[in-house]
Amino acid sequence: MTKRRKISDFMANAMTYFASFISILMLVWIFFYIFSTGMKSFDFKMLTTNYWSTNYKIEFESPDAGSFEKPGSLGDSVAYSVKYGVGFEDVSTKSGTMDLQVVYIASDSPLNSGTNAVAGETLGQSQSIDLGSNVQRITYVNSDGSYASEGNSKGSSAAQLAAALDQSVSIDSMQYQTPGGGVGGSLKATLMLIGMTLLFALPVGIFAAIYLHELAPKNRLTRLIRSSIEMLAGVPSIIFGLMGVAVLFPITAAFGIKSTSILLGSLTLAIMLLPVIIRNTEEALIVVPNGFRDGSLSLGATETQTIFKVVLPSALPGILSAVLLSIGRIIGESAALIFTMGTFIMDKPTLTQNATSLAVQIWSVMSGENPNFGLACAISIIILVIVLILNLTIKLITARLMKKWSA
């Protein structure tokens, strides 16, 4: 009997160890994959830069060559033009082509004094070159007064370009392509989405929770409402997306918004998050000691005064963690947003136009003909870090709350 017991104990233990090992392994695997793939593409600059690359042509008025020393920080692979204080490098891109990138521009380089030569609103305005831009063509003037040009479109290498510039007299114009691949637009759209969603969902959710917990009679109807809300929390988000298109789109359309928009997305998410906010706020209200309510009422405060002066302020930390939880959900949501906000990545998002959140941008860059794993993982890193910070903050708030009430 003891032997049998030993064997069965061993089996059970082995199963638990194996199961926990598998789950931890999966977690480590995911993180390792995302960080190893994403870190190569991740760059703090991508948080502010555009996703789409743009072609620019700039012209120079007084392109006098000077003499600039090559900074020591630039490696041997950088071809440096002493006359203009600019460094170029040959970089292979993810799509397999070679880029001729601008990697350094001296602060007083004549290249900083260019003006935009492309027709449009910014024609004639001064324009500085983003680092990482791909040089298509630089047209320069030789000492005999003739014009010549070098650049990526002519198949020149960085060394050829730098050498050609150093024997020129002045630069006439430059065509280049901005690097792109940034998430600035999506980050902005995500922030707008968070702000608008909370604006819609928080007041409704908090007041609904107050009604359910503090005011509603404890009868069958209240229980029905509560279980409906619980059920709503389990509805897949894509169904909320459908609802957004079918039910909410006509509402935003009535205000003259012709397409899917951040506004529509935030309305949809607000409805999706209502159960989360109601449930968490209710839980925060449950934790508030009944002594506070009794004490307040016994001092001749009305029920409403009790709720708004004593109960709600005491529940504030709990409500705050509901907010943070909601922010986490908004950042991570994609299915509902694909329907209601569209999948076109906007560099300058506005409330009434479609845009992508960070999560949807991952979907967008992965759903094309050549999926961009590097960028997708880099965005994943951003999302993971934000969610991690949010979760830590929630833990901190909850711990403080527990300490406060147990005292």
Binding site: D294, G300, S314
Partner: protein
């Protein structure tokens, strides 16, 4: 002597549970009346009828009447908010709000719409002085009330109640969560408070009832067994059950 509360044929039900059986009693003004009895005998329940705090409990039903200064307070149309400003209450566990000491004491008045800083300052000082707490907290009125010790918190709750200048203060086992030193301070305080207020106290400690009260009512299983002056109850109890209880034979 004036009777401030007159209870006539009061029955109270929690759902199907008949918690108080046709209680008749009178509470005298400016006296300390103690309710004693074993747990679950209905003494706290009766106390909570005096300021209608039982309204908050679902399924609670009251029959009969209680007159407060000749006015029935069990009827539905009684303004409970108004009643509770006249009948204050101190609870078993000190329950100061998580705000500053000053805000705690000023809470009741602010709820009634008093905004004048001078009036509030004056009332806060007076109330804390009456509650024998002023000297201990006058330098830190703005600090959080939850940082006070248990005994100080309970005196703050008393100060909070008397800030409204009620006629009656109901105390529901106010010292059961406190240590002996804090308890004796509260008891001294009650002695000085009875000049201005009528005090009704529920207590588990018979010594406490004997020390501080003028009248004592003994409850058992929802019945008022005996009510008399404290001296009589403790020296010449008329009922056998009262005698058994105060001599410690049960309870």
């Amino acid at each position: 002597m004036n009777n401030i509360f007159t209870v006539k044929d009061l029955d109270l039900y929690y759902g199907d549970n008949h918690a108080l059986h046709s209680i008749d009693m009178a509470i005298e003004e400016n006296r300390v009346t103690a309710f004693i009895g074993p747990s679950g005998c209905g003494k706290s329940t009766l106390l909570r009828c005096f300021n209608r705090m039982n309204d908050l409990i679902d399924g609670c039903r009251i029959e009969g009447n209680i007159e407060f200064r000749g006015k029935d307070i069990i009827k539905d149309k009684v303004d409970t908010v108004e009643l509770r400003t006249q009948v204050g209450m101190v609870f078993q566990r000190p329950n100061p709000f998580p705000m500053s000491i000053y805000d705690n004491v000023a809470y009741g008045l602010r709820c009634q719409g008093v905004k004048d800083k001078k009036v509030l300052d004056k009332v806060v000082e007076e109330s804390l002085t009456k509650a024998a707490l002023w000297n201990e907290v006058k330098d830190r009125l703005k600090s959080n009330a939850l940082r006070l010790s248990g005994g100080q918190q309970q005196r703050l709750c008393i100060a909070r109640a008397i800030a409204l200048q009620p006629d009656v203060i109901l105390m529901d086992e106010p010292t059961s969560a406190l240590d002996p030193i804090a308890t004796s301070k509260i008891e001294e305080l009650m002695e000085s408070l009875k000049k201005d207020f009528t005090i009704v106290i529920v207590t588990h400690s018979m010594q406490q009832a004997a020390r501080i009260s003028d009248f004592t009512a003994f409850f058992l299983l929802g019945d008022l067994i005996e009510m008399n002056s404290t001296k009589e109850i403790f020296h010449l109890p008329k009922d056998k059950r009262t005698e058994d209880y105060i001599t410690g034979r049960f309870g």
